[in-house]
Structures are given as structure tokens and as C-alpha cells.
């Protein structure tokens, strides 16, 4: 059978020196040393490369968070749940619209608030608030939450993520900065537990 690659690596003019038997020589030794040297240089080079790549990993979870304003108190009337917006404290100049994030602010009685992440605890989709039925519904996989963020129906493994908040003068501030997931939570508080008051 004729193999198509037979002539591929056969140079027409130069005889392959590897065809001749060779012995241990100084050049062979030098080659090995050079390869080792190259490996050492590569290992040193890998340090900054990995540091650059894994930079976001080494940052402590909570270090992204800062107090940011979500709006004036009069935007959030008592007894109602309204959409708040905040500018994420950390970002880059090219973030565009993605740096302005929504959240749901529930004003319970003007002294107590609940600030929920927009993200469904199931798959991060944006939940909608329906004031008539007092439910949050998720458009993706049918997660439903009560007004206090507890799971009402569907697949979410936990209630809505909540941000810590405080009232500074006339402003409602939240402790925010990173996308809440099951591993990176918006706040230490869980629905139903006590949240910090301003």
C-alpha cells in the first residue's frame, strides 16, 4: 500500500543526519542543559502569566463590595416594592450599560427595608415583581417568591438574595458589588433573618 506521507519529510538534497548513529557528545550535553534552562525560564514566565489570568480568583469575596446608593427614600414608598438602580462600585470604562444594576427595594414600614437582588437564586434570571399578587416571578424556569423573598414555588434552591442596607440621610445605601450566586452571596443575611438597620 502506498502511503501518502512517505515523501513529506524527506528532503530531496540533504541526508537526514539522524539516520547515522551518534554517540554521547558535548553538544548533546549542551542541548540538554539548554532545554533545562528553557524549562526554568518557562516556569518563571508562568508566574506572571498565571497571576494575570487568575487575578480575579485571588481577590477575597467580600472585597468587591462597597456601600452604594440605590436612590432617595421617597422613591420607595412604605408598604411597596419598587425597582432600584445602582452603579456597581467596581468596573471598567467599557462596561457600558452592564454596570448599572437593578434590585428590588421593599419598604416595609419606613424603618425596615428589604433589598433583593434582581437575580433568581435558580439561574440568575431577572425576577419581576407583581404588586397585585405580591409575588416575584421568574420568566426562565418558573421560580416564584413571596414578598419577603421566600420561595413560593418552582425550582429555586433558596430565597432571593438580599443586600445589607443602611439609611444615610435621605438615601438608601446597599452593600453591593458582585453578582450573587450560591457561592458569592449578596449579603450574609438570608430571607427571614435580621438585616442590619441604618
Amino acid at each position: 500500500m502506498k502511503k501518502p506521507w512517505k515523501d513529506l519529510f524527506k528532503h530531496p538534497i540533504i541526508e537526514n543526519p539522524l539516520d547515522q548513529p551518534s554517540e554521547h557528545s558535548r553538544r548533546k550535553f549542551l542541548f540538554k542543559v539548554a532545554v533545562l534552562l528553557n524549562g526554568a525560564v518557562g516556569a518563571v514566565l508562568a508566574v506572571p502569566v498565571l497571576g494575570y489570568l487568575l487575578g480575579p480568583v485571588f481577590k477575597r469575596n467580600d472585597s468587591y463590595n462597597h456601600w452604594v446608593p440605590v436612590g432617595n427614600l421617597d422613591q420607595f414608598p412604605p408598604g411597596e416594592t419598587r425597582l432600584g438602580r445602582y452603579r456597581n462600585p467596581e468596573g471598567t470604562p467599557a462596561d457600558g450599560q452592564t454596570r448599572t444594576l437593578p434590585c428590588w427595594v421593599r419598604n416595609i414600614d419606613n424603618t425596615r427595608f428589604q433589598v433583593f437582588a434582581i437575580n433568581c437564586a435558580h439561574m440568575e434570571c431577572p425576577v419581576h415583581w407583581f404588586p397585585q399578587s405580591k409575588l416575584f416571578m421568574c420568566p426562565c424556569h418558573g421560580g416564584v417568591y413571596y414578598q419577603d423573598g421566600a420561595v413560593a414555588a418552582g425550582p429555586p434552591p433558596r430565597g432571593l438574595y438580599q443586600y445589607k442596607y443602611k439609611v444615610a440621610g435621605n438615601q438608601l445605601m446597599i452593600w453591593a458589588g458582585e453578582l450573587p450566586t450560591l457561592s458569592t452571596q449578596a449579603s450574609i443575611a438570608k430571607p427571614g433573618s435580621k438585616t442590619c438597620l441604618g
Binding site: M1, K2, P4, W5, D7, L8, H11, P12, L54, P56, V57, K59, N61, Y64, L83, R85, N88, G91, A94, D95, Q97, T98, R99, T100, L101, P102, I118, N119, H122, M123, E124, C125, P126, H128, F130, Q132, S133, K134, L135, M137, C138, P139, C140, H141, G142, V144, Y146, Q147, A152, A153, G154, P155, P156, P157, E178, L179, T181, L182, S183, T184
Partner: protein
């Protein structure tokens, strides 16, 4: 004439003397293959390679205009669609080419599996092929991100959610994937780098290795029932076959490859022309929450699995299944590298392909019209049809209003309109009695929220009196007296006065 001929021959010789590629390439093209393999069933691999070529060309064309930043990507796609001559068509070719490439790669893999072509000595060709499939899916996912519309934005959220479920290092993985704390410019840029540099580079290298192995080992022969693959004899038998009954790949088989590739490219062009570019949907502004994010076609089945899996099993299913499936695909040729190739002697293989194909089709079609999602605007968009209101008392009509206002319609259809998350309510009065309806509304259950806090007692009364009229206008409604009588005697009860609508 002969002077020109002579000169071009000399030019050719000048190049070939220095390049030395013409002879091996010609030999590779004309290498003998089994006559049975010059078949229309053996054309999918070359078609996949052809589409890959189309994707590279259209991808470079798009990159001439596309602005790869989170801030401007979406706007630049709108610009390509509307302001660049034929920009919409190039985008459409790239988008449809992506769907076709995934489909053809999967068909190619299925054919190779059914024909047993992955067996000795082509195990490694199959293993490289598995990585080619993964890379193709990687291109499809990262490409969807680069469309950077609402679907892309929330799709990244789904990715982050999956990463966040990994035990111990979940948080680190989320940050690694996002390149920072939120879905933003760094997230976008790393998916751009993956889609344009990393994955295409790996794909090119793996395609080269894959094709090299096909040339080196020869194209698999048409399987015959009873002709077993044995490590000790296979190569001899194969070489004897191509010696006796071999034909050159070019042109005996290649004409079919080339024809099929042309037909596929033509089909992509037709889809692009008639259906237009895919997306982008709304801008990637997370504060626009009036959105129903959905993944692209190749991932719709995953989206369906997320909704249908039991919540308690979800995380293990998400994290373990992909590893098991990939390991099974990689291990297949090592486990079943010898033996029968023909599908008629491999019932388990046929059954597996059928079950997987049917499951993926069902899940994909479910994903296209997901019955598990509430229809977010049904309460204000889908009116209660007059037949449900005609001849009803004021209280019952008030109940219909409560039914709409309280978003019941988002999950429950009436007259075929509305959500499908919960059961249709057209006949609910024949299933539940008044007290059962009240209990269900107030306490929920069976995946329905409790409305006890949201409804006032008069609203509940009105709603339940409306629901009690939903008996399909024919069957008697269920009520507590019926239940009592049914339990006391098997006699069928008569109509009661409050339900003869």
C-alpha cells in the same frame, strides 16, 4: 501556445523544487479507499470542515466592523444589520452556519458510531472527534455571548450560576468566568478571546490531527454483519480489501463530498436569505427586566433540563452528568475497540442513539415553547373570553377580574390562552369543590404559591365563585354535597342549583 505551456511548466517546477508539497498532496488525494466507502454516508466530516471554513471567512468579515467591547458590541451589530451593505446577510450566514455546523458534527458523530468506525485502529480519531464536538459547542456558546444582547447577558448569568454550584471553589470559578465581580466588560472580552483566538486555534489544530489520522489509517470500510474487527488481523484484511477493491479517494469518493458540501453551503445561504440574521434581541441592559431570556437552539435542551429536573437533584445532575457523558464518549472506543461493526448486530448502540435522539428532540421542542415558565404578560394581555362571562352574576364577573388582576392567568390557561405552568382551568369546577378551591387559593401547594396574604376575603369569595362556573358548560360541577353523597352511596348525584350555567 506551446511557449506559454512550457513557461508555466517551468514555473511550476520552480515552485515544486522549493516547496516539495505537490507530490505528497497528490498522493494523499489519490490514496486508495475501499470501494464501499465511496458512499453518500461518508460525506458529513468533509461538510463539517467546509462549514468551519465558511465560519472562518464570515467571522473575519464580521470582525472588520464588529466592535468587541461590552459597551459597543450590541450597537455595532445593529449597525452591521442596517448600515453596512449586505451586513445582515454575512451575519445571517455566520449565525445559520453555526447551527448547521453543530448539526452536521452531531450527524457525523452518529454515523461514525452507528457504522462502528471508531473501532480499532481508529480509537484516537474518535477521541479527537469528541474534543472537536466539544470545541464546536464551545464556539456556539461563546458566539451567542458575542451577540451581547439580553439573551447573552442572562445566559452568562446561567453560566455563573452553574459555576457557583461547584462545591468549595464555586466562588473562585464564578470570578474566573466573569473576570471580575459582575457580568461586564471583562466578562465580554474573555469570551471574545475564547471565540476568536483560543477555540478556533484548538479547532484548527485538532481538525489537522483528525484529517491526518483519517489519511494515515485509511477510511473505514462499509461494515458487514458478522465481519468482526480483531486487532491481530484487521490491518491485513483492510489492506487486502483496498488492494483488491480499492478506488482513489479523488475523484471516486470526493465528488460526493464536494457535492454534499456545496448543497449544505447552499442550504445555509438559503436559510440566511429567507430567515435573516439571528438576533440581536434587546440591548444588554440589566435594568430592562421585561425580558424572557432563552438560549440558542443547540442549548435549548439544557434549558429544558434545568426546568424539569427535580430541584434536589439539580446541582449533582448539572455537575456530574457532563463529566460522565464526556468520559463515556472518550472511553467508548477503548471499551469497545473490537468486534462487530454493523448496526444490525449492535442493538444496544441502536437503542442508545434512538433514545438520545428522541430525548434531545423532545427537550429542544419543549425549550422552544417552555410550558414551565409563567407567561409574564398573560394577566394583562390575554382577555377572559366572553363565553366565560355571559350570564354570570356580578360576583362571578368580579371573580374573573380578580383572576386576571392577581396574575393567575400567568400560570393557568383559560380557553387555551395563558401560562401552562399550572393546569388549565377550563374544567376546574369539575375537579375541585368550593372548599377545595378555597383551600388551594389560600394555601397553595402542588407548586402553586399561597395567596392567603395577597387576597382579601371578598376577593377570595369572588374568585372562587368565578372558578366554580368553569365546568365546561356540560358536566356537573364538583361540590361538597356530591363528595359526601359519592362517599355514602355509589349513586350519581343530580345537578345542584348553583352550577347550572
Amino acid at each position: 501556445m506551446s511557449g506559454i505551456k512550457q513557461k508555466s511548466l517551468k514555473l511550476y517546477q520552480w515552485f515544486d523544487r522549493r516547496l516539495g508539497l505537490v507530490k505528497p498532496i497528490t498522493e494523499a488525494a489519490e490514496h486508495p479507499i475501499p470501494k464501499s466507502s465511496a458512499s453518500w454516508w461518508y460525506v458529513f466530516g468533509s461538510a463539517a470542515a467546509m462549514i468551519f471554513g465558511l465560519q472562518i471567512v464570515t467571522g473575519i468579515l464580521l470582525a472588520l466592523i464588529y466592535t468587541p467591547t461590552a459597551q459597543h458590541a450590541w450597537t455595532s451589530l445593529i449597525f452591521i444589520n442596517h448600515n453596512i451593505p449586505l451586513g445582515w446577510f454575512i451575519r445571517a450566514l455566520h449565525g445559520w452556519g453555526s447551527d448547521f455546523m453543530v448539526a452536521i458534527v452531531i450527524i457525523h458523530m452518529t454515523q461514525v458510531f452507528m457504522f462502528g468506525s471508531y473501532k480499532y485502529p481508529r480509537e484516537l480519531t474518535w477521541i479527537v472527534g469528541v474534543f472537536l464536538l466539544l470545541m464546536t459547542l464551545g464556539m456556539a456558546f461563546t458566539g451567542q455571548v458575542l451577540r451581547f444582547d439580553q439573551d447573552a447577558y442572562w445566559g452568562l448569568g446561567i453560566g455563573a450560576s452553574i459555576m457557583g454550584r461547584v462545591p468549595w471553589i464555586g466562588g473562585e470559578l464564578v470570578h474566573l468566568m466573569l473576570g471580575g465581580p459582575i457580568i461586564g466588560a471583562t466578562t465580554f472580552s474573555r469570551f471574545f478571546a475564547l471565540h476568536v483566538f483560543v477555540i478556533p486555534g484548538i479547532l484548527l489544530a485538532l481538525v489537522a490531527v483528525h484529517v491526518w489520522m483519517v489519511l494515515y489509517l485509511g477510511i473505514s470500510e462499509w461494515p458487514m454483519p458478522g465481519r468482526l474487527v480483531r486487532r491481530s488481523t484487521y490491518v491485513k484484511e483492510y489492506e487486502a480489501e483496498i488492494h483488491q477493491d480499492g478506488v482513489p479517494f479523488v475523484p471516486d469518493a470526493a465528488w460526493k463530498d464536494v457535492t454534499f458540501s456545496a448543497a449544505i453551503i447552499l442550504a445555509i445561504m438559503a436559510c440566511a436569505f429567507f430567515f435573516g440574521p439571528i438576533g440581536p434581541s434587546g440591548p444588554p441592559d440589566p435594568t430592562i427586566i421585561q425580558t424572557v431570556p432563552k438560549p440558542d437552539l443547540p442549548f435549548l435542551w439544557v434549558y429544558a433540563v434545568f426546568a424539569l429536573a427535580p430541584p434536589a437533584l439539580e446541582t449533582p445532575l448539572l455537575l456530574i452528568t457532563p463529566i460522565v457523558v464526556i468520559c463515556a464518549m472518550l472511553g467508548l472506543p477503548l471499551y469497545a475497540g473490537e468486534g462487530e461493526k454493523h448496526w444490525s448486530r449492535r442493538p444496544v448502540a441502536v437503542l442508545m442513539v434512538s433514545v438520545i435522539a428522541v430525548s434531545l428532540s423532545i427537550l429542544t421542542s419543549l425549550g422552544q415553547h417552555p410550558p414551565w415558565s409563567p407567561v409574564m404578560d398573560a394577566w394583562s394581555g390575554d382577555a377572559v373570553q366572553p363565553k366565560y362571562l355571559k350570564g354570570r352574576t356580578p360576583l362571578q364577573r368580579q371573580g374573573a377580574l380578580v383572576f386576571q388582576q392577581m396574575q393567575c392567568r400567568n400560570c393557568h390557561a383559560l380557553g387555551g390562552l395563558g401560562g401552562q405552568r399550572g393546569p388549565d382551568l377550563d374544567m376546574v369546577a369539575t375537579r375541585l369543590s368550593e372548599s377545595e378551591l378555597i383551600r388551594q387559593v389560600l394555601q397553595g401547594g402542588g407548586n402553586m404559591p399561597a395567596y392567603g396574604n395577597a387576597l382579601s376575603p371578598p376577593q377570595v369569595t369572588a374568585l372562587v365563585s368565578f372558578l366554580e362556573t368553569l365546568n365546561g358548560n356540560e358536566r356537573p360541577a364538583q361540590n361538597d354535597v356530591h363528595r359526601l353523597m359519592q362517599s355514602e352511596s355509589a349513586q350519581s348525584p343530580g345537578h345542584s342549583s348553583d352550577e347550572s350555567q
